[in-house]
Amino acid sequence: MSELDSRANGRHAALVIGAGIAGIQAALDIADAGFKVYLVEKSPSIGGRMSQLDKTFPTLDCSSCILTPKMADVPRNPNITLLTCTQVKNVEGQAGDFHVTLEREPRYVDEKLCTGCGLCTDACPVSVPNLFNAGLDSHKAIYRVFPQAVPPAFVIEKKPSPCKITCPAHIPVQGYVALIAQGKFREAYQRVLDAGVPFVGTLGRVCYHPCETECKRADWDEAVSICALKRFAYDAGTLHAPPKPAPVHYAERVAVIGAGPAGLTAAYNLTLRGYKVTVFDALPAPGGMLAAGIPEYRLPRDVLKDEIETITALGVELKMNTPIGRDGGPSLEDLRRDYQAVFMAIGAHGSSRLDVPNEDVQGVFQAVPFLRHLNMGHEAKIGKRVAVIGGGNSAIDAARCALRLGSEVQLVYRRSRVEMPAAAWEVASAEEEGVKLTFLSAPTKVIEKDRRVIGIECIRMELGEPDSSGRRRPVPIPGSEYILDVDTVIAAIGQNVESAGLGVETKRDRVIVDPLTLETSVKGVFAGGDAVIGPGSVVEAIGAGIQAAESIHRYLRGMDLREGRTKDTPKAKDIEVVPTSPVKRAPRERMQELSIAERLNGFIEVELGLTQEQAIAEAQRCLACAVCSECNQCVTACLRGAIIHDDKPKRMDVDVDAILVATGFDVFDPHRKPELGYGKYPQVITSLEFERLASASGPTAGKISLNGHPPKKITFIQCVGSRDRSLNLPNCSRVCCMAVAKQAHLAHDRLPDAEITVFYMDVRAFGKGFEEFYDRVREEGVIYRRGNPSEIIRRGDKVVVRAEDTLIGEQVEVESDLVVLAVGMSPRADASNVSETLNLVRGADGFFAEAHPKLRTVESNVPGIFLAGCSQGPKDIPDTVAHAKAAASAAMILLNRN
């Protein structure tokens, strides 16, 4: 890779892993000596823990003030290549000759273009706890870790989105949901359009919403009502004003066969990309199954018309009443001659026959032509007593339509309810409206008189072994025939693709395609939707349309059709969601529906949509588990075009002579000491939280307060998560005694009237100026009591620290407004990964082990790999810097020798 040229143009190089104060110091020293340094940092900014601290002990100088100049030196140093959001994946070779593979996580913001202006953050609708401020406040999904961050570029936090992954069209669900939650309805509608989906109001009504099945909110109460929100985005967000025609950029023309959801979606996307597209369809009106198959009570025609007008207004040309390859229409070859690419999305409009005697007599209909006839505005002549045969969505649609035409309707299905392919809520509505369901029955003969239906003979079935579809196969029970007294039969037992004569390879009736690119057996001809998968759903067809548009664009531009299209996204089921704040249980908002009487009186839409208040409340139920919702508000806000939502991880290889490990430490999580009530009592905080509270750049601008009130009694507890065998953290954390002394001093300094108590086991003031500082703090009036508090309980609005004061040998209770837990320094949670990648040995305390405890404290067990700072064990800042400088010096011996 050019920006990381191997061996830095022949110079000797070092890799420094971790850019806290240790890593920064070591990198600067090595670079100043004239060697090349790759400084790799996992997080988006350098600075490490020291950037979170307020004052430093015992001299009380400001942590940021002494750190920031060093941070600023890093990007200025020509010998240092800084790689943030980057981790070491693999190391091979030996001292003097290491080959290192790095992986850079996407920042989703171009570091070079971002000026750090912050317009994106203002526009972002998603907030998450700010871990830099120890969770005391929040930041947006697009954020900068802290104002002095190096590099200053913003970063987007993204996690896998179960709804988006599950959606066959990969619509960024959380994006439009977040926008609805903010009352930005027009933007919400636009967001769905921008995802390449022109059918917002349509999908919001008829989608089978597999996204809701995977919504993680259901782990707490119920899934977010995503489909209803999409409908709301259309109902409240569309202007009903057709867009201006899209400019044509390319000379190539594209033909689309079929004006259904797949064909029109492809046409929409290709037109927006700058192609001239013509859509051919055999039917007189566009929409495919949306227009011909789905009844009006589910999808009002003005919604469909409006959405198709949006597509045609862009410049998509429709040629209706034009079948391809039959009935005198042009052939596929004709199209291939006149157009440079063809997308075949002819749907599945054919019908499977019942295969029973007398099925051609008057009064026997096929569901698809029956619905088409009705939906195209013609009168349908059916009888008073109708039997619908089948259990899919078309069967339910036909049954509910027949009901609305005034007939009595009986649905006959050969398996049982659980095997019905129709959506459960559709079946429930049909039943509510009066459709009678007969399960485990199949027709054997149509009974006729004078070539008219007068009944249908059925046979009872039972369920046998599962068949290839995994459902149990129905088996007839001999002799169980019976007769249903009906005058109309509507068969809805299957749809097929009318693919004969098109000239592409098919399997049975379905068009064979490459599942990734949708290429057919004929060059330049692509296919998708029901024509490929058989009768499916609208959203699958839309997904295929988007996929086809991408393929056709790549094909016409001579690009690789496959590159970057296989996504290794996790399965929605495997995604674990840990909410950032407690989830308040709230049931989902439900749409009003028409009464049964109103429904049956014509074809008016049954569901009435969410009200504005309902929609906002429902949208706020979203856990925002993907953090960034991909609402694209940042893209609109950014004046520099720096946002890259589809940024990908990058692998890089570097060759170095030496490696320095400066990966630092984690702070102990006091949830593991439940008796101290951390996380339960807001008055109990960690020492890191106290640093942020005390810091002038922190969430309270340096005011030590809790819910706006300055605490009158503050208690510090030492040795939380250190010197503790029961937690397997046996070591002394070394800095907490002095950190507590410093914090007690700060508390006294800011709140001179506060009563400050420190509970300690021993006070270890061993460093230069430490004992003197400890003396000073006691003389300021801070009370030191010997004893390790046993528990914290609540009393009114205060908490009570219960302990034994071991010097008087009595149990004591200290009422407190604020309790600060001096949490220990623990090994990094991912230390085992680092240790595996680099072959490093860890000590009993979990930190990386030095080669010799006295004489070689910066060398690791691997020659050429050095340890710097707290990765080797807890240290204060002066010791960390000294250790880092020693490690740098040891590495330079190697760099110089090679």
Binding site: E675, R802, E804, G809, V812
Partner: protein, 382 residues
């Protein structure tokens, strides 16, 4: 003189690891009201040279063996077990309180510390259709325990449990009059010899009857079977898998075998028994059962789970008053329960039931709050 060899004593019990931080005493419920100071006792043993005199250390009998000290100790020292061991030294010299002596003798003679006849042990189940384990065998042995066998409230719990398990289709049987005290309290009172004899007797019987799986009403019985039997030579033959009944019910609920057709529409707070919670980490299962009952609104006391306040019923304290009988922790506990506004104080231990019941009466709070076992509540919702 009641001298122990303190250096050996300290070494065998890991007391030299103690850093005198006082975390044990700071949380000790008895240190709130008596002279008991686990840290100071350890300190005295550590500095005693080679002989520590137990004479006059009456506070050793204050310990309820709640295990707060051990569960909090950062150095994994177990002051509670040290205290039990000191009791053993006293018992060995025969210098014990008459009440303790009576309880131990009754355990030896009647198989229970309550001075009640052995032949009445199975009476509680006389009118119930419960399998006799010894005759028919069963998947589970229902080990009832002394208090649930004889005490009226305890019997109600045992009967409730029978109806719950029967409705869930669990195959279990009881030992009736052949059941013997588990000897948990004998061990806490320091009578090592009797404890070993009882363990041997019980372990032999269970082996003969081929007991593979068993469950108990009392967390004390559960604990001794689970944690103590197999650690001593006398219990080497004991190999059954032991569960507390709340674990069984929680599993049955999860599997859908236990179903509630009724409801229990009350505000309930739950008191964690020490031998279930602090000793064995079973905090969630009783709560899963309670929240699985339709109508139950579970409210937590501030001191819950790891911070649950001991009711003073354990560690042999049913038979020894201790040095400050005036203030009862159970009364403090009932006050805490009342503060939550709960109508029912639920627990899952026969000792807790007794002490809390008595405290409610003492506080004249019978109108405001009832003490019920989790099993009783669950059975009411069947």
């Amino acid at each position: 003189m009641l001298q122990i060899e303190s250096r050996t004593f300290a070494k065998e019990r890991g007391l030299f690891a103690c850093v005198q931080c006082g975390k044990c005493t700071g949380g000790c419920p008895m240190a709130m009201k008596t002279k008991l100071n686990p840290r100071a006792i350890i300190y005295r043993v550590l500095i005693a040279g080679n002989g520590f005199n137990l004479e006059g250390r009456d506070e050793l009998w204050d310990c309820t063996t709640c295990s707060t000290c051990y569960s909090r100790c950062p150095k994994q020292v177990n002051p509670m077990e040290a205290i039990v061991a000191m009791r053993s030294a006293i018992v060995e010299k025969g210098k014990i309180h008459p009440n303790v002596k009576t309880a131990l003798e009754s355990t030896f003679r009647n198989g229970n510390p309550l001075k009640l006849p052995r032949e009445d042990r199975g009476l509680w189940a006389k009118d119930l259709q419960v399998k006799a384990f010894a005759e028919t065998g069963a998947e589970y042995l229902f080990y009832v325990g002394c208090t649930p066998s004889y005490d009226p409230h305890g019997q109600k719990v045992a009967r409730a449990l029978v109806s719950l398990l029967q409705s869930a289709g669990v195959d279990f049987g009881i030992l009736g009059n052949d059941e013997n005290c588990c000897s948990s309290e004998v061990r806490r009172l320091g009578e090592v010899g009797l404890f070993e004899a009882m363990v041997e007797e019980n372990a032999e019987m269970f082996k003969e009857l081929n007991v593979q799986k068993m469950f108990t009403v009392s967390p004390h019985c559960f604990n001794v079977f689970k944690n103590d039997y197999h650690t001593i030579e006398a219990g080497a033959t004991f190999g059954a898998q032991v569960q507390h009944y709340t674990q069984m019910l929680a599993d049955l609920l999860k599997d859908g075998r236990l179903k509630f057709n009724g409801s229990f529409a009350k505000k309930v707070t739950y008191h964690d028994p020490c031998y279930l919670g602090k000793h064995n980490g079973i905090f969630d299962e009783p709560r899963e059962v309670l929240t699985g009952i339709p109508g139950v609104e579970l409210i937590e006391m501030d001191r819950s789970r790891e911070k649950s306040l001991c009711c003073e019923g354990g560690g042999g304290r049913m038979w020894v008053e201790g040095t400050n009988p005036g203030t009862r922790l159970a009364q403090l506990r009932v006050k805490e329960a009342l503060e939550t506004g709960a109508e029912v104080l639920a627990t899952a231990c026969p000792f807790c039931l007794l002490t809390l019941d008595e405290a409610v009466k003492h506080l004249n709070a019978e109108e405001k709050i009832r003490v019920l076992d989790v099993a009783e509540i669950a059975a009411q919702a069947l």
